[in-house]
Structures are given as structure tokens and as C-alpha cells.
């Protein structure tokens, strides 16, 4: 109501008038908004962005600071106690491994899985693949930081480190396969394995197999606070929730490298903030999941370079309690698989830029990514057949089950809901979804006693074939979270690690994959491919299969340079 101010005059707008005018404005604005065409950035067919950015042919320039806004923040620095990408996004730069995979400037393409020497110049295996000998580079120095003070790395350091890994922590399962370690001289390490294994070098090339120092472990009792290695960068600062600062190691054994003076990782948990940081020039490269996000960034940063990354395997899928009914019946698993439209998830959730989902990296058994047909009959979307098969299995009216998951990223919730809807519609399976926080989800998942379904994972760090087959699929492995229990797979994965011939390895791997598909042992779900977007002056930053430069592939940063 208009009021009378102390001077006795009426003024102002009445409430009714205000509401009328405000309402009219809102309707007008709404009409304006709706009249604008909403552009949907859906990738149709091939991505317009390159899949591979080869090494730049110019001579690298030294100097400069590379900055990245990172979603990950390691709770601690101890490589024995965590495999988190938060740690290895920079531990791969402070430290070396005995062996490594090819860097982008050495690789023939995005799928190059060749091994190169890191701390080891050469290596060889005995004819039975039980004894592996590694010849270390001479003159490699620990970083010139107390208590190492730049002393030379010797075989005793490797022995100490590997024995420490075997003693406690998350890598004991792998390192306990070493029966004994000999150091016949300062530069020779000889590993005696419990059983023959042709993939020992590959296991030691995993991003997590970094060599840490004895002195720090003995002085501190753990490695939680200090990370000193032989790598191209020295960890100058790690402030949790703030930043990690790495400076060039002036005594690095690979002379002339790294090119950068400094690499700064800014801990930035929010996705919108990371993108804003890239737009504002505070971050030099960033990961994006979808084509529409890339297009939005290129509107403000048109000269950004974009690599369309292609995953060679996926890490998430429907894990089933297949040691219990009803999922112990292969017909039920097959029915579930045929009732889920994976292509729809790729087209909608990932805007066409995703893969249908398989567990073993394709380059270990064929040249190109799998096509839908190659998955076999149980992985095609055939709801009518699925219903028939489920009825044959004794569930003509479906059944009820549960599914728990943790939302690693928002798209996962969409996928979970799509699966729930399709299983209900096609098979009358009622799936009760429970979204958990990380700790509850993780604890329940790795305990492997849950029932029903879980949106489960296999570890993201693993590059090697042995890790992806034997370690994750053998029934006796403690990393077999999907609870695969198939004697044929057990036999094949064991045979694989005893097969030195590459052609035979591919053939056996193909048989493992075919068996996995046939038995629907792990019900893989689609996954995004993603994009690496970089400022135009960043060179040699391309990501390779299973080694994203911003994550477990961080050692690549030693070859990155800035053309400015």
C-alpha cells in the first residue's frame, strides 16, 4: 500500500501495481528466452578434433611454468599406502621406475605400448621367465635434497624399495610375487619370481611402481610427508587443498630435460572453476568430458588445441554378486546384458563421444577398438530375447534387486538411472538404487560381500596386460572385485603370463576377452572418451592410451615444453 511519509505526501507504487509489472516483465523475458534456438552440441559421426597430436618438430625451448587446475588432491605422499591418481599426477615426475612406457614424443601413435628403460638401461629374463635381470643406468643421482643429498642410486636402493612394497601397503600383492632379490653389483638387480611371469617388466613399468628412498622411510617411519626421488622434478611444495609445486631437477640423469622450469598443480575441486581457470589463462591444460564442453571453451578460447582422447578400455561396469543367485546363472547375466542399450548411453550421456565398454585394452588383442558386433550375441540390445532368456532361467516375471554406487562424476548417475529404467521396462527387474558416499561405497565394494548389483570399477592406473587380466580376473586375486570365478579364465590368465610370444599372447588375450563376453563375467558400461584441451603454446602434451598426461601419464610432462 502506498505510505504516507512524515511530510504527508503519498508516493510510490502499490503492491498490486508492482506485481503486475514484475509479472509482465517475467513473461516477456521468458518468451525471449524460449524464442532463441537452443543449440545441442551433439557429436554426430567422427569428432572434428584430432585423436593424436604428434611431437612438435621444432627444437624444444627451455623454461617457463606449466600450470594445471586439478580435481585430485592426495591425502598423503606415501606410494606404499595409496594408488590414487592424486598422488601419481606428480609422483610420476619426482620419481622414476625401473622401466616405463613410451612418452608421446617417442610414440608412434596413441596406442603405442612399447617399453623403454627408465632407471634400467636394459633387462632380460631367464628362459623360464622366473629370473629377471635389470641393468641400472650408472650415474643416476637422487635429488639433491636432504637426507639423500644427491648421492648415487644403486641396486641396493631398488632392493630396499621393492622389499618395502612387499612388506606392507596396497602393492604387497604384486611385490610378494618376488621370491628374492639379488644385487650382484651396484648396477644390477636380479628378481627371482615365485612363478614364471613374462610380464614382470610391464608390472614394473606401471605408473605406481615408483622407486622411493630408504633414508626418508627410515628417518620418518613412513613416506607420508616427503617425496624425494630421482625424477625430473623436485617437489618443492605440497600444501594440501592448495597446490603442489615442482621445480626442474638440475641433476636429472636425462640431460637437457625436463624443459620446463616449473610445474604447478592447483588443487581445484570444482569442475566449473577448473574450466574458468583455463579460460582465464590460469591453467594451461584441462580435461573435458563432452564435445559441448569443448565447444563452449573454444568460444572464449578459439586457439586452444584439442586432442580427442580415446579410451582403450573402460573402468566401470555393473558388478554382479555372481557367486549367489540369481546372478550365478549365466542366463540371467546374459539377459541383463541384452536388456541394456549401451549405444543409447553413448549417444545421450556422452553426446556420442564415448565407447561401448570393455575391460581389457583392445590393443592387446587387436588393432582397432571393438565394434558392437565384436562383442558377441549377448551384448547386443535385444530386449525380447533377453526376456525369453530370463524366463528360461526361471524368472519370467523378473525379480527385485539392489544397486549401490558412488557418483564419481554426474554422468554416472544418468547411466545408473538409464540402466534401472531399461531393466524394469525390458525384464521387469526392480532395481533399488542406493547412492553412497565414497567411504561407504568403497568399503562395501572392496569387501566383496555385497549382494545384488554394484556400479563397480577396475583400477584406473593399470597399463599392463597382466594387471588387466590375471590381477583383475583370476578368481584368487584380491583385486577381482567383479567376483569373476571362471575356471577357463583362471587357466587362460595364468597361461598368458607364461607365454612369451607376442602373437600367442594376443591370441590368448582374445580368448580371455571372448570368454568374458560369452559368460558376461563383467558387465561393462559405456564410458566417455574425453578431450585434452590445452593453451596454444603447450607442446608435446598429447595423452597416450591408458596414460593421460594429467593423471597417471604425468611422467610425460618431462617432455612438455612451452612455445612462448
Amino acid at each position: 500500500m502506498p505510505t504516507q511519509d512524515p511530510k504527508g505526501t503519498y508516493s510510490g507504487v502499490s503492491r498490486r501495481q508492482f506485481l503486475r509489472r514484475a509479472g509482465g516483465t517475467a513473461v516477456g523475458l521468458g518468451a525471449l528466452a524460449l524464442s532463441r534456438p537452443i543449440s545441442k552440441a551433439a557429436a554426430q559421426g567422427a569428432s572434428p578434433y584430432t585423436e593424436w597430436i604428434p611431437a612438435n618438430t621444432k627444437a624444444p625451448k627451455r623454461g617457463g611454468t606449466l600450470t594445471r587446475a586439478s580435481a585430485w588432491d592426495p591425502p598423503m605422499l606415501d606410494p606404499r599406502l595409496t594408488q590414487s591418481v592424486g598422488l601419481y599426477q606428480f609422483a610420476g615426475l619426482t620419481s622414476n621406475r625401473l622401466v616405463r612406457y613410451a612418452f608421446p614424443d617417442e610414440a608412434s601413435g596413441a596406442g603405442d605400448m612399447s617399453l623403454k628403460g627408465d632407471l634400467a638401461e636394459s633387462w632380460s629374463a631367464s628362459p623360464d621367465n622366473r629370473v629377471w635381470t635389470f641393468k641400472l643406468r650408472q650415474g643416476v643421482k637422487w635429488q639433491n635434497v636432504a637426507p639423500l643429498n644427491g648421492r648415487e642410486l644403486t641396486s641396493a636402493d631398488i632392493k630396499y624399495c621393492f622389499e618395502a612394497y612387499a612388506k606392507e601397503g596396497v602393492q604387497t600383492f604384486n611385490f610378494k610375487e618376488i621370491e628374492g632379490i639379488e644385487t650382484p653389483d651396484k648396477y644390477t638387480v636380479r628378481l627371482h619370481m615365485q612363478t614364471p611371469n613374462v610380464f614382470v617388466a610391464h608390472a614394473l613399468a606401471e605408473p605406481i611402481s615408483i622407486v622411493f628412498s630408504r633414508e626418508v622411510l627410515e628417518e620418518d617411519g613412513d613416506l607420508k610427508k616427503r617425496l624425494i626421488g630421482t625424477g625430473p622434478f623436485v617437489l618443492k611444495e605440497h600444501t594440501r587443498k592448495v597446490r603442489a609445486v615442482l621445480r626442474r631437477n638440475p641433476d636429472y640423469w636425462d640431460k637437457g630435460r625436463p624443459y620446463l622450469d616449473e610445474y604447478i598443480i592447483l588443487m581445484t575441486p570444482d569442475d566449473a572453476t577448473r574450466k574458468a581457470a583455463f579460460r582465464a589463462g590460469q591453467a594451461d591444460f584441462v580435461w573435458m568430458a563432452s564435445p559441448s564442453e569443448v565447444e563452449a571453451i573454444r568460444k572464449t578460447n578459439p586457439s586452444a588445441s584439442v586432442q580427442a582422447y580415446h579410451n582403450s578400455a573402460v573402468f566401470f561396469g555393473l558388478a554382479m554378486s555372481q557367486d549367489k543367485p540369481p546372478f550365478n546363472d549365466v542366463r540371467v547375466r546374459r539377459a541383463l546384458s541384452m536388456a541394456i542399450d549401451r549405444q543409447k548411453q553413448v549417444d545421450t550421456v556422452f553426446e556420442g563421444h564415448g565407447i561401448l565398454g570393455w575391460g581389457v585394452p583392445y590393443m592387446y588383442f587387436q588393432e582397432k577398438p571393438l565394434t558392437a558386433a565384436q562383442f558377441g550375441p549377448w551384448w547386443q540390445y535385444k530386449p525380447a530375447e533377453a526376456k525369453k532368456l530370463l524366463a528360461e532361467a526361471g524368472h519370467p516375471n523378473g525379480f527385485s534387486t539392489t544397486l549401490f554406487y558412488y557418483e564419481y562424476w554426474p554422468q554416472m548417475t544418468s547411466q545408473v538411472q538409464l540402466v534401472q529404467a531399461e531393466l524394469k521396462k525390458n525384464l521387469n527387474i526392480d532395481v533399488k538404487i542406493t547412492k553412497l558416499d565414497y567411504t561407504t561405497y568403497y568399503g562395501r565394494y572392496v569387501e566383496s560381500k555385497w549382494e545384488g548389483l554394484c556400479w563397480g570399477f577396475q583400477s584406473g592406473h593399470a597399463v599392463g596386460l597382466d594387471e588387466r587380466t590375471y590381477q583383475y580376473m583370476h578368481s584368487k586375486s584380491t583385486k577381482n572385485f567383479f567376483r569373476v570365478n571362471d575356471p577357463q579364465i583362471d587357466e587362460l590368465t595364468t597361461k598368458l603370463r607364461q607365454t612369451p610370444d607376442p602373437k600367442e599372447q594376443r591370441a590368448i588375450t582374445k580368448r580371455i576377452v571372448d570368454r568374458e563376453f560369452d559368460q558376461v563375467a563383467r558387465l561393462w558400461m559405456p564410458y566417455d572418451n574425453g578431450f585434452i584441451v590445452a593453451q596454444p603454446f603447450v607442446r608435446n602434451h598429447a595423452s597416450i592410451a591408458l596414460r593421460r598426461t594429467d593423471g597417471y601419464g604425468s611422467p610425460h610432462i618431462a617432455r612438455v615444453w612451452l612455445d612462448k
Binding site: 502506498p2 505510505t3 511519509d5 512524515p6 508516493s11 510510490g12 507504487v13 502499490s14 508492482f18 587446475a69 591425502p75 598423503m76 599406502l81 595409496t82 594408488q83 590414487s84 596396497v170 602393492q171 604387497t172 600383492f173 613412513d222 607420508k224 610427508k225 600444501t239 594440501r240 587443498k241 592448495v242 597446490r243 604447478i264 592447483l266 588443487m267 581445484t268 575441486p269 570444482d270 566449473a272 572453476t273 574450466k275 574458468a276 581457470a277 579460460r279 582465464a280 589463462g281 590460469q282 591453467a283 572464449t300 558416499d437 565414497y438 567411504t439 561407504t440 568403497y442 568399503g443 562395501r444 572392496v446 569387501e447 566383496s448 583400477s459 584380491t478 583385486k479 577381482n480 572385485f481
Partner: protein, 316 residues
Amino acid sequence: MYKYVLRRMFLAVPVLLLSSLIVFGLMRVMPGDALTVLMGESGNISEKELAKVRKELRLDLPYYQQYGLWLWQMMSLRPGDSLLTGEPITVSLRKAIPVTLELAALAMVLGLVIAIPIGVLSATRQDTASDYAGRVVAVSGLSFPDFWLGTLVITFAAIWFHWIPPIGYTSLWDSPWRNLQQFLLPAAVLGFRLSAATMRMTRSTVLEVLREDYVRTAWAKGLAGRIVVYKHALKNALIPVVTVIGGQLGVLLAGAVVIETIFALPGMGRLTVEAILYRDYPVVQTNVMLVAATLVTLNLLVDLTYAWLDPRIRYS
């Protein structure tokens, strides 16, 4: 007055004890375990290893013993170490508290700078365009969620100005200018939300006070409008406003986790939420007790402020 203060401090003890019981109990009741996350990322948690670490951290003791131990640690101001990082909790707090204090202080100042003048303007120009504009601003502040506003602000700052606050917290003593740049936007977003409730309360109480007899007398005496409003009316109108501000300050000091996350500030909010997610019992319990003690103190300070604002109020 001092007897009143002593009595209030004495009454704070059962409040804090009850808070400690609740937070301890809730953390133990929550499913999941800090040790599982800590040790099991590759699935290699053997029962033996878990039992060993549990024993080292004294998590194998009966709950009442754990509670007693923790209470003793709190009273002797030695809250122990984080289960997750191994860092002493006092060190973590020393890093997080200044961030939260600074954010809270700036947000409060900005909030009051917006709220009080607009609230007074709205009240003195009731039902005019300025009043409606002020009320729209207030309702917007109440309606817009933190995460939405913060995300909008940072996204459009980057798009329109190719600038965002520098990421990577820098303390005020290391670089005041960089620090100010980092805090201004988040404080403005938080302050905007806080100002909404304060603005509405200010408007409402000023309107009420302006109708009092003594104010009418002041107008009748021919005093200038500014003197009537700011010298006579506002002080009395502020008592309920101070209550609102006190409550908001308490919430701010607990940590604004959404704003801290969006603007990458390592404050109490993020520290506490991360500790809850990872079941880092000692950190959660310590932080909650700290917040409880802060709120109790703040309430006391708010009550004492009443006496300053209104001389009729006296405590004994």
C-alpha cells in the same frame, strides 16, 4: 555483569559435553571406516593388516574408552593426528582457521555494508520503487543457492573478463593484494546471501521503531530525517538484527564448504566435510567441538551487545 558472564560460561560446559557425545556417537554409527579407504585401494586389505593399524590408532578399544581418551586429549588441547593424512590436527586447524576467519569477516562486512543501508532505505521509503527493489534484492539473496551463484560468478567472470580470482590460496601476510583478489568474490557471494536476511530484518525492525512515540516526537521537534533514523531509531532497531548477525557469523565460522570448494579456498568447511567423507574421526570431532565452543561464545557476545545497544538491559 561478570557474574552473568561466569554463569553463562558455567552453563556452556554441559552444552559442550552433550555436543561431544553426539558427534562422537554419530561418527561411530556412520557406516564405513577410515581404515578401509586408507589401506584398501587395491583390495589388499588383509584382516591382519587392518587389525594392526586399528590397534596402532587405538580404534580397537571399547567406545567408552575411546571417548574418554579423546575427551582428555581435547581438554589438554592435544587433539591428536588425522587418521587420513597423519598430520597433527592443530597444524591442519592452523592452516584452515585463518582462511575461514578471513572469509567470514569479509563476508560479514560486505553483507552489512549492503544490508543495513538498503534495509533502512527500504523502511524509510516504504512501498516506493526503492523499497521494492530492495526487497527483490533481499528475496534474491535468500533464494539463490550458494553453489549456483558462486558457479555463475566464476564462470561469467572467466567468460566476460577472462579473469577469475587467482587459484591457490595465498595468505594475507605473504601477498595482501593477491589475497584480497582471492577473497573478494567469494566474500561478495557469501555476503550477498547473508545480507538478504539482515536486510529484511533491518527493514522490519526499523519500520516498527519508526512508528514508536519517541520517534514521532523527534519528527515533531523538527529534527533532520537522518538524525531521527540513524541516531534515534536505528540503535533500537538493531537488537534483533544483531541476533540474526550473530547466528550468521556462527554459521560462517563453521565454514562455507560450497564457496570454499568453488573458489578453492582451504578453509574449515572443506576440512570438515572431507574428514566426514573419509571418516577421519579425530578431525571431525575436533572441528565440531571447536564450532560448538565458538557458537557458545558468540551467543554470549551477542547477549552482551544487547546491553551496549539498549542501556535498559542490564545483566546480573
